[in-house]
């Protein structure tokens, strides 16, 4: 399974570049524009990332995550979710930069190639910042009541948490 991911990267790059060449796109100019966008969005997340990495670093140093893990491990074990990834599960729907900060702290503590690190990476990669998306889209359209949007979206988020654990452990 891991090999698929590793081969997918060069495959995707070659496919896109060759397709672009066939369609006579100005390849390098496009790449430059896109990469510049990448820099711009990194700079725009920098201030919130600094604030949140400091806070997550403080939580981690204070032993907050250890206390939280030991308190919640009975519940987590019953559901089958490692308590170490719970902080990520809690912040993922609320804040994008916050989940960057928490994921990076988990990867640093447990190692990016450990089971915990891999589950956390998969989880972070497979959901979006739910409440942010709801706020931006409904806000723009002038929708005031969200109906059953929030419960449905949270079901999707919770499923992705469970499925991340299952895929990493059993596939």
């Amino acid at each position: 399974m891991d090999k698929i991911g590793i081969y997918a990267v060069p495959f995707v790059i070659v496919f896109i570049v060759v397709f672009g060449a066939v369609k006579r796109v100005d390849l390098f100019e496009c790449f430059r524009e896109g990469a510049k966008d990448g820099i711009t969005s990194l700079i725009s997340v920098a201030p919130s990332l600094i604030g949140l990495v400091i806070a997550v670093n403080m939580l981690s140093a204070s032993g907050f995550f250890d206390i939280m893990c030991s308190l919640l491990s009975p519940v987590c074990n019953a559901v089958g979710i490692p308590p170490e990834i719970l902080p990520l599960g809690l912040i993922r729907p609320v804040s994008g930069s916050g989940s960057f900060a928490v994921l990076s702290s988990i990867l640093e503590t447990y190692g990016p190639d450990s089971v915990i690190g891999r589950i956390a990476s998969v989880m972070a990669g497979s959901t979006e910042t739910t409440f942010y998306a709801i706020a931006v889209y409904y806000g723009a359209a002038g929708i005031k009541k969200s109906g059953y949007t929030v419960p449905a979206a949270l079901i999707a988020d919770f499923s992705s948490m469970l499925i991340s654990v299952l895929t990493v452990r059993y596939i």
Partner: protein, 196 residues
């Protein structure tokens, strides 16, 4: 919202360090964290820019149109309140395609346009109709070919294979999306049952 979470994080860390007797480490963590954030940004930047650059080529060369065409029959079934030729559905498919390719900057404007177009055909006033809810829920489950941010963070943390998680991300994001779609359908049916 984020302000309160931040406040909670800071107060919780001070309280926990007092309980655990780790006040000295906490002081270090504050300055260390600021430093770490910048190091993180720098070590992520290369990988992030690689993918935004590559995906821009995909966008310009019309791969996006191919994906949009492939998605159109599925989207028609999921959002039956709007015809596939409508402005609303054009924007919806542009938004979903941008998300699949990880073009965050292109996704938000087309998503907002989609929502506004859908709202103009919405007979429920300030309440979203079933198709609008479906669109938002699809948006919150992020199905993407290359989860660049997660890969960049893994790279920054010194992973031996930052991209080994790709197939797992594909499977779990697609299954989470399916769960979200079922949830929307189920709640929609319950709501209709209650009203009728």
């Amino acid at each position: 919202m984020l302000g309160y979470i931040w406040l909670f994080m800071i107060i919780a860390s001070v309280v926990c360090s007092i309980i655990n007797g780790k006040m000295d480490i906490l002081a270090e963590a504050v300055t260390g964290g600021a430093d770490k954030a910048i190091q993180l940004l720098i070590s992520m930047a290369g990988v992030m820019c690689l993918w935004t650059g590559i995906m821009r080529i995909a966008e310009k060369s019309g791969i996006t149109r191919g994906i949009a065409a492939a998605l159109s029959p599925v989207l028609k079934r999921l959002m039956p309140d709007y015809s596939p030729e409508s402005e609303a559905m054009q924007a919806v498919s542009a938004n979903i395609t941008a998300n699949i390719l990880g073009l965050g900057n292109a996704a938000t404007p087309s998503g907002i346009r989609a929502m506004k177009e859908m709202q103009s055909g919405n007979r429920l006033g300030d309440r979203p109709n079933a198709s609008m809810i479906m669109f938002v829920v699809i948006n919150t489950a992020s199905v993407q070919i290359i989860p660049a941010t997660a890969a960049a963070l893994r790279q920054a943390a010194g992973s031996s294979d930052p991209y080994s998680i790709l197939p797992y991300v594909w499977i779990s994001s697609v299954l989470a999306l399916v769960a979200g779609i079922f949830a929307v359908k189920l709640f929609g049916r319950l709501r209709r049952g209650k009203n009728g």
